[in-house]
Symmetry: C2
Subunit: 298 residues, 2 copies
């Protein structure tokens, strides 16, 4: 049996980004924290931490943290049965969750607001914003309990629920269209294109489908709302979720450049097989909210 005090020390060092702060969090001395890590490493036979600022888990360290995350969830599930409803209001359950920025800026906050009737306990959310294509790495590394991303394949020890699809449309402002005198989609290849970050390949997919080309000229703008504001300002065109459009098209602020065309990006809720009843109630509510907000998966 693993001594979980040792894993707790590892987790605290990683989350608090240092031995000193970890000691404070665990209410022990810094040398006690160091001792626990040494003990863990002599038990495992290899380093669990890369000693730099901030300290990072090694590959085996990540596997241990991943394991700890699952054990903690099991413990939460256990405690709810034994403690019944006693004092649950006073100790919210911390849910670490990785989600893509577009979800965070649109449907997700509402989905985290579980109605009282369906609530087993209070939640405290620690959200990590991550590109939908890479958020799952956070789950594999044992950093989060839930991951909302476009990957359909569950990870080892994990399960997956479908949420729906984000519908992206090709959007620009009227002044952008006028300035570049856009009359056909072939022109888009040469015009300034907005890209969220280095992982965002949606605009590349668009130009590949429309023109068999890649964007020649991109602005990088890593903010969901900033993306929309950059479109309104006329910096470039790009793919925007219909959920973010609001009434911008009706108001004449933005234009759908390729009416009838869209890219649907599926979204999935990844969770551990050891899901606690609390997280299950959260997942079920999120699925309900998503089904009202997102497109139905093809």
């Amino acid at each position: 049996m693993i001594d979980y005090q040792l894993l707790d020390a590892l987790a605290a060092i990683v989350s608090e980004k240092g031995f000193e702060k970890a000691a404070k969090k665990l209410f022990i001395t810094q040398s006690a924290v160091s001792r626990r890590i040494h003990q863990l490493e002599s038990m495992i036979g290899e380093p669990v931490l890369i000693r730099k600022q901030p300290p990072k888990p090694t590959a085996i360290g990540k596997r241990l943290l991943n394991h700890l995350q699952q054990v903690r969830q099991l413990e939460v599930a256990l405690s709810i049965r034994s403690l019944a409803d006693e004092n649950l209001q006073d100790s919210p359950l911390t849910v670490k969750l990785a989600a893509n920025a577009d979800s965070l800026a649109t449907w997700l906050p509402e989905a985290l607001m579980l109605p009282k009737a369906e609530k087993v306990c209070d939640f405290r959310f620690e959200i990590i914003a991550e590109d939908q294509s890479i958020a799952l790495k956070r789950m594999k590394a044992g950093e989060v309990m839930v991951c909302i991303c476009s990957n359909e394949e569950p990870i080892n020890g994990g399960l997956v629920s479908a949420l729906g699809a984000f519908r992206y449309k090709v959007i620009a402002s009227p002044n952008f269209v006028k300035r570049h005198n856009i009359t056909s989609v072939e022109q888009l290849t040469e015009l300034p294109c907005l890209v969220y970050d280095e992982h965002d390949k949606l605009q590349h997919q668009l130009l590949n489908e429309l023109n068999k080309s890649v964007p020649k000229y991109t602005h990088i703008c890593p903010s969901s709302e900033g993306f929309k504001q950059a479109m309104i300002a006329g910096l470039g065109y790009g793919l925007l979720p219909t959920l973010q459009l609001g009434d911008a098209i009706e108001q004449g602020e933005l234009i759908d450049l390729v009416p009838g065309y869209f890219i649907d990006v599926p979204l999935y809720w990844h969770y551990w097989q050891t899901e606690s009843p609390q997280l299950k109630s959260l997942r079920n509510f999120a699925i309900k909210v998503a089904s009202n907000k997102l497109e139905t998966l093809a």
Copy 2:
């Protein structure tokens, strides 16, 4: 005189996150890239790269990259004089810029859309979203040409222009106020509070000023628009820029919890002393837009 081929190799390895991709970017072989780094290190007498995945510059490596960034700007300023207006339309100038997420979601995109009359060339923006308190590190590290943050002190070799101040107000939704039966600000300490990320200390400042306390119960939500959506959904209260409020208060979606109270966070435009004419025109236009959107600095 430094051999800038060597610094270019270092910059490419850091930006491309590896030797192989750097080689591709520079159109040379991977072993040529390695050779350049070895040459640089034997010249300097210490390592410029931490060899891990992805490779990171050492302290001296960062200083070299910082220097390279300034030299590149000087070169841009030079080329504009020699090339005059010839073909400038065809080769946009890449501007790497670090900004706080709230600027990116509100006034900044408009400020980057320089009108044709004031434009010396086309820009291609690579924006990095960073907390206002730490964005300046990106500039010190030589990763960006411009940094928009709350730090008033220019860095070594840099200058600073004041932009104005972000005004933050204490905001929650009507259902949040009703559910927690909020009648006085003293209650806020115990109630769920929204925090952008680990660097965001605004809510701590608020509770310290109002109640001499710290938030007991925080949700972490690293998205400007997600922050507002989480408030509307009723997950917690927090500080929201008045620029992001829109008509949410008039529409009854959100409530100003402490009318008359606000926190003003100053914003500055950091740039290098070697600023090119193109970046100067950009800075002047940004100052103009900011003066219309932000509060006047006290």
